[in-house]
Amino acid sequence: MKRILAVVVFASVVPSLALADSVGGCGWGSKLFDGQKGVFPQILAVTTNGTSGNQTFGISSGTSGCTQSGVVTSAWKTAAFIDANMPKLAMDMSRGQGESMDSLASLVGVPAADRIVFNSTLQANFGRIFASTDVTSTDVTSNIKSVLAENSALSAYSVNI
């Protein structure tokens, strides 16, 4: 039965042991095919509010329940975005265009002038980035980082992942 009303968890932004900036430290675990079952629309759904797992307040909370204290780095935000958007990113990347790609480019700091190279480079390296059906978002993030680092036009942006 679909949980139509959200479970809302308030998580205050509490200074705690700072998790490392590195992506690996948080354990982003989303897969390409998340086993996310679609919603069988309830014929008489009473309410129409969301059902995503954790709704919080902190901008530093990602879908995996990861919370980062302190200033949220762009690397962290990028990892969180990739973690939450694997299927759409894969779809866009297969075509070398799309809103998820644009958002990723924005997060990584790629200016308009370099977007075309960014898009085509990632598309050409799709097989390396999404290496298997089981690839996790952590892998995807570090693969994208490698691909960018190897490209002379884009290597400057790889530090932002």
Binding site: A6, T51, G96, E99, T133
Partner: protein
């Protein structure tokens, strides 16, 4: 030193008194913006804040008394100890109240120093708000009730542009519940059995949920709030963390609570007072439009299903055939090279196949692992073709939701029934029936509740001609790729029809399933079957059961003119073993957004009897 501290304390106390006095003199606690900040409202049960007792209130009676709350707030601003459960001082926990009181009372920075609020500052710099957009998630397939919509707000970043709005933050109000029991959940949701909370999350999470998972189109309405108004609203959000409200599905729901946020930003917006016992999200959007709080026409964000249907509609037969093969042929049969396609053709087919597979995978098919393997393969294949997507994003529907007809309908009808003059008045509190102007609604979706038709026979008392508790229908077209079922459900009473004797009100319960098809996006054809139960003194045993078959069509000829027709047959068994046939046709002409003319023709025959009705209707939505 002790004396100096005591002097400082006395000075501070003196300043606090001065501020409180000034606040009283200026009647700040009566100002609409202060009341909005407290979510303070007058109601039948008295005046109090809608927020539940919690750390949201600094005064013991703060919930009932805005003045007491204001005084306590001023006092708390002088304190430097952290609030219980918030791990920050009052100034930092209530940045909107602080900002507002500071601007009204002109705090002296020496006597009431501004404290540093690192957590709030960090949060605010991450949100980076520049503007506010109201988001409407519209209906999803086969769920007419979702036509009421769901609203949330998006906080647009200063650095945001049209291509990176996914990175903005969304504000949502929702109930917190764990109940899996649908009935309990429905009852508690209606009766205020759940608490509701505001939350802030990345907009891409919402798009993922509404657009990809639930397949709802999203409309984005940019509001024209000024920077100072946006700032106060966002500061107020920080104050609302973890603050419980009671969630009422009908009147204090997602959209109602968003209006309260907008009234904090701009107290001259009198939005909540426009609504009574049922707050329909789409209507709140219409209210925002009327109050001129909109800056521009909405942006349309098509759902995954809409994008897929658009791709299917644009695809030639070859592409459709090849896409299905690519997606569904067994591995042994799949030979890409053998298809003999150019890069362009292959790219097109792969794009359609990939979206189709994504749709199937989201819908939890039995053959999930196989589909996933195939999707992975095809995505890889597509990435080898450096050609762009040849199908552009779907265009928005001609009419956007805020321009759709209003929810309530009142009709006046005149005509002939069985060759006698017939007059009728009808009222339907909600929401949209198939003959109504389709702009802004899902074609084929009907939700009607508590419709009552009164007729005025010559020389007799007015009587109820028809009463519908519920009349729902969802006609969802099938195509090569996506094959949903259609369904209907009706519970109510009607005086119409050929019945064994007399013309009493007969109660019926009908429902069933079937198929629908779309022709050129302008016409719907449907076939529906299901059981019917009739209860009334006309029948031998006071009731009759039967099976009902319906075949019909709805044609949108122009943006004003639509025609519809349905042929139905009911076989009632076993004692009342007879066949009832019906033919209903109608023509509807839209005069304006909320006014329509309609002609209807009904014929019914069975068991040797025959009845006819010809009516002209004037219909007003409000």
């Amino acid at each position: 030193m002790f004396a100096a501290a005591a002097c400082a304390a006395a000075e501070q106390n003196g300043y606090l008194d001065a501020l409180v006095n000034e606040a009283h003199r200026a009647a700040l606690a009566q100002e609409p913006q202060w009341r909005a900040l407290l979510h303070f409202e007058s109601s039948f049960f008295g005046a109090k804040s809608k927020a539940e007792p919690s750390s949201f209130f600094l005064a013991v009676d703060g919930r009932q008394d805005p003045q007491a709350e204001l005084d306590a707030t001023l006092k708390a601003f002088f304190e430097s100890q952290r609030l219980k459960g918030r791990d920050e001082t009052s100034q930092c926990a209530f940045p909107a109240r602080y900002q507002w009181l500071k601007s009204k009372l002109k705090f002296d920075p020496i006597l009431l120093p501004q404290q540093k609020c690192p957590q709030f500052d960090q949060w605010l710099s991450g949100i980076d708000p520049h503007g506010i957009t109201m988001i409407l998630a519209s209906s999803y397939m086969n769920n007419p009730a979702s036509a009421f919509g769901h609203t949330l707000l998006r906080l647009d970043r200063t650095s945001s542009d049209a291509r990176s709005t996914l990175l903005d933050y969304a504000v949502n109000y929702a109930a917190a519940t764990d109940d899996a029991n649908a009935l309990l959940y429905a009852v508690k949701g209606i009766m205020g059995g759940y608490q509701g909370f505001f939350s802030v999350s990345p907009y891409y999470e919402k798009v993922k949920l509404y657009s990809d998972l639930e397949n709802r189109d999203i409309w984005e309405y940019k509001l024209n709030l000024l920077p100072a108004e946006v700032d106060l609203l966002v500061r107020h959000l920080w104050e609302l963390q973890g603050v419980p409200f009671l969630y009422y599905y009908f009147d204090e729901n997602c959209s109602y609570q968003l209006l309260s946020l907008l009234e904090v930003a701009r107290p001259t917006l009198k939005l909540r007072s426009k609504f009574g016992s049922w707050v329909i999200p789409v209507e709140t959007l219409q209210a925002v439009v009327e109050e001129s709080a909109l800056a521009a026409a909405p942006e349309f964000r098509p759902s995954a299903a809409t994008k897929l249907q658009n791709r299917i509609a644009q695809a030639g037969d070859d592409v459709k055939r090849d896409s299905k093969r690519l997606a569904l042929d067994s591995m042994a049969e799949l030979h890409l090279a053998d298809l003999g396609l150019s890069d362009q053709e292959l790219a097109e087919s792969l794009d359609l196949a990939n979206e189709f597979l994504a749709y199937r995978i989201m819908g939890s098919a039995d053959d999930q692992p196989i589909l996933e393997e195939r999707a992975f393969l095809l995505l890889n294949e597509r990435s080898r073709i450096p050609l762009p997507d040849s199908v552009p994003t779907p265009l928005p529907p001609a009419v956007s939701p805020e321009a759709a007809h209003a929810a309530r309908k009142f009709s006046m009808s005149v005509g002939l029934e069985d060759n006698k003059s017939f007059y009728q008045l009808s009222f339907r509190p909600t929401y949209h029936e198939l003959p109504d102007p389709e702009g802004g609604y899902n074609l084929g979706s009907q939700i009607s509740m508590l419709r009552t038709d009164f007729s005025f026979p010559a020389g007799e008392r007015p009587r109820i001609e028809r009463f519908d508790l519920l009349d729902l229908a969802s006609i969802t077209p099938r195509n090569d790729f996506v094959k949903p079922f259609s369904w209907y459900f009706k519970a109510g009473a009607e005086r119409w029809g050929v019945s064994p004797e007399g013309e009493d009100l007969i109660w019926s319960l009908k429902g069933g399933f079937g198929y629908g098809w779309s022709i050129l996006d302008r016409a719907l054809v449907y076939l529906l079957n299901g059981p019917a139960l009739h209860v009334g003194s006309d029948y031998e045993r006071a009731f009759a059961v039967g099976v009902s078959h319906r075949i019909g069509s709805l044609l949108i000829l122009t943006n004003r003119l639509a025609v519809m027709g349905e042929f139905n047959h009911e076989r009632l068994l076993p004692d009342n073993n007879y066949d009832l046939f019906g033919l209903e046709t109608g023509e509807r002409y839209t005069l304006s957004r909320n006014l329509a003319l309609r002609l209807s023709q009904r014929f019914s025959w069975g068991d040797g009897d025959y009845s006819s009705q010809f009516l002209f209707h004037l219909e007003k939505f409000f």
